[in-house]
């Protein structure tokens, strides 16, 4: 154990270089900075917004509309005169990004039950999210005013019938069923909420797999390149300990790197998404449908993630032996990237259960697919599929670790090389 610890500490020290620390800190700071910037922009978009308004009508109806704008947190900058072109020019020079023109006769048209028209001008000064949101808010205000006016007209014309009944004679009550549970709600909203809660998991997993694998392959390749492997293989420590120490160190540093990246990314995404992903009010429906992760669920998910990382590390150990130097190691990560990329992309765009059988079997044969599928399977109560995935990954890991141990216990660790051209053996 003392010798293993000695080796593990060395491996960690070899991996945690100044370059790695600087790159991790810089990336986290960058994410944090961009996230905060986005958050500030979003807050600014939600704060009091300036809007230029040219009211050529000046009737109670037009005043009702501008009143709604004030209620929606808009600060009105009144444009004088009656020339729309001049109003556009004036607004363009100012700092408001929106111009609303209410034409003369607007109130009269509403009174005659004829379609009344207003013109909105959005000054697209950037392509930022906050810029787009301002015009969306204005549209929402116009829509709310439309509803208010139409309801008012309907109440006057047909006082006996509620406006809602006239406008939406058919109403739909949406129910969602998950296994044996049912709740009232929109399937899209529920799916969106569950997705927003679990969107980070595939990203974390993908990053850990890549980081850890790259570290193991590089560590072995560096031992070869720096001519330290031969010496290490002759010291009195079991070869299995050498393999385990490299895998453990890479796993630990990979987890740490991924955690640091994720803290930064969470801050970034939090700033970008604001409250959009929080799904306020969804809690009871989600609870009712059983779409929450309990202790067993978290345990299964953890075990699934753990074995995926072990499989990646074992694969990387075998691939690392093939690398002659650090440069070759960079390209040897490709098979692992491809194997992780397939379920990673699928987790965003498709459902493995709906795929044609041969493709489904291919996806399930990839060990890394199982942790990606674990979250939806746990939430949907398909525990058997999760356990099958864990057992499958355990079997794959066992086979890979036996191969890795055999390679390290024989002279293949020195003689196995991936060569594109056949070279003579150097004695």
């Amino acid at each position: 154990m003392k010798k293993f610890k000695n080796l593990l500490v060395k491996e960690v020290r070899e991996l945690v270089t100044k370059q790695l620390i600087v790159s991790l800190v810089m990336t986290m700071l960058l994410f944090y900075f961009i996230g905060n910037l986005a958050k500030t922009e979003m807050k600014r978009a939600q704060a009091v917004q300036k809007i230029s308004v040219m009211d050529l009508d000046r009737t109670p109806v037009s005043e009702g509309l501008t009143g709604s704008l004030k209620s929606a947190n808009f600060e009105i900058d009144w444009v004088k005169g009656d020339d729309t072109e001049a109003a556009v020019q004036e607004a363009r020079k100012g700092d408001s990004n929106l111009l609303l023109v209410i034409p003369k006769g607007f109130g009269e048209s509403v009174g005659r039950l004829e379609p009344a028209q207003v013109s909105t001008y959005t000054f697209l000064r950037s392509f930022s999210v906050s810029g787009i949101r301002k015009s969306e808010i204005l549209k929402a205000v116009v829509s709310a005013t439309n509803k208010y006016l139409s309801d008012d007209i309907l109440r006057k014309e047909l006082p006996a019938v509620p406006p809602e009944t006239l406008k939406t004679p058919i109403r739909s009550r949406d129910f969602v069923i998950v296994k044996d549970r049912m709740a009232e709600g929109s399937a899209a909203a529920i799916s969106g909420f569950v997705y927003s809660q679990s969107v980070f998991l595939p990203i974390i997993l993908f990053m850990i797999i890549l980081y850890s694998s790259q570290m193991v392959i590089s560590a072995i390749a560096m031992e070869k390149q720096n001519k330290t492997l031969e010496t290490l293989l002759t010291v009195p420590i079991p070869r299995s300990s050498i393999v385990t120490a490299k895998m453990t160190a890479a796993g630990l540093v990979g987890l740490l790197s991924a955690a640091i990246y994720m803290v930064g990314m969470r801050s970034f995404m939090g700033g970008m998404m604001g409250d959009m992903g929080s799904g306020a009010g969804m809690g009871p429906v989600i609870e009712q449908l059983g779409l929450t992760m309990n202790g067993t669920g978290y345990l299964l998910l953890g075990v699934s993630l753990f074995f995926a990382i072990l499989v990646a590390l074992a694969m990387a150990t075998i691939l690392g032996v093939l690398a002659e130097d650090f440069r070759a190691a960079q390209s040897l990560i490709l098979p692992i990237v491809l194997l992780a990329m397939i379920p990673y992309m699928l987790s965003f765009f498709s459902d493995v259960n709906t795929l044609p059988l041969p493709i489904k079997l291919f996806v399930l044969a990839i060990p890394f697919s199982h942790p990606f599928l674990a979250t939806p399977n746990i939430l949907l109560g398909n525990i058997g599929a999760v356990i099958y995935g864990i057992l499958y990954m355990m079997a794959v890991f066992a086979v890979l670790i036996i191969i890795a141990a055999r390679i390290f216990s024989t002279d293949r660790v020195l003689t196995m090389k991936l060569r594109w051209r056949k070279k003579p053996v150097v004695l």
């Binding site: 003392k2 010798k3 000695n6 060395k10 020290r13 070899e14 270089t17 720096n226 001519k227 330290t228 031969e230 010496t231 293989l233 002759t234 010291v235 009195p236 420590i237 079991p238 024989t410 002279d411 020195l414 003689t415 053996v425 004695l427």
Partner: protein, 240 residues
């Protein structure tokens, strides 16, 4: 003088290529035994097999009575190996590298300290040992590695081209260190292209070519046998 290493009919093949065709020799306690021969003769393959890096295709080898195939772990405790093209971990300081290696052999912290103290004396790199290995010259790395190989006073030190890449002064120092440790009881199996080095260092020499030992004996005995002024001529005569 007790036998530390016994090699009997050792063979190694890489596919169809026979690198070793059945070589035999013995190394006694405190003896310096050298393998000399041209590139591709099988010197490094022999050393790597005895260092437990390569598995033999045939024959036997024993270190202190432990069979190479059955007890490689036991043998690793008794030997140290200095490859021709060896390196040290570039991110570690010289002292940290020595400490890292000493911890594999020492049973107690005190023993590890003693190993490191001995290594510091062998390496003789002064304050540079507190700097990272990545900043060392090739000669400094070689001296550090030799110190690592000898600090544990192994029963058998396997040194492949120990002065490879060193200048004249450093080469002389290294040879003197090896000679001194052999006098203290360490057996040395080494290979070299440098016939002068072999004459200075070795007690006995084996001439190896194309996987076979052509002849062996003391430098003086071989020179007398082949009526040659030096080992280079001895080797040429033996090959013919």
């Amino acid at each position: 003088m007790s036998t530390i290493l016994r090699v009997d009919g050792l063979k190694k093949s890489y596919g169809n290529l026979e690198a070793l065709k059945g070589i035999s020799f013995e190394v006694g306690e405190g003896e310096i035994f050298a393998l000399i021969g041209p590139n591709g003769a099988g010197k490094t393959t022999t050393l790597r097999i005895i260092a437990t890096l390569l598995s033999p295709s045939g024959g036997q080898a024993e270190v202190l009575g432990f069979d190479l195939k059955k007890h490689p772990d036991k043998i690793r405790e008794k030997i140290s190996y200095l490859p021709e093209e060896a390196g040290a971990y570039r991110n570690l300081r010289g002292t940290d590298y020595l400490k890292f290696m000493a911890n594999f052999y020492a049973d107690t912290p005190g023993e590890a300290e003693a190993f490191i103290k001995r290594a510091l004396a062998i390496a003789d790199l002064g304050p540079r040992l507190n700097e990272k290995v990545g900043t060392y010259s090739k000669g400094m790395v070689r001296k550090l590695l030799l110190a690592r190989a000898l600090m544990t006073k192994p029963a058998l030190a396997i040194l492949d081209e120990p002065t490879s890449g060193l200048d004249v002064i450093n080469s002389l120092e290294v040879r003197e260190i090896i000679k001194r440790f052999a006098k203290e009881g360490i057996s040395v199996l080494l290979s070299s292209h440098n016939m002068l080095e072999i004459e200075f260092l070795s007690d006995r020499v084996a001439l190896i070519d194309r996987g076979l030992i052509l002849d062996s004996g003391t430098s003086g005995g071989l020179k007398d046998k082949y009526e040659a002024p030096n080992l280079e001529v001895v080797f040429r005569s033996a090959v013919r």
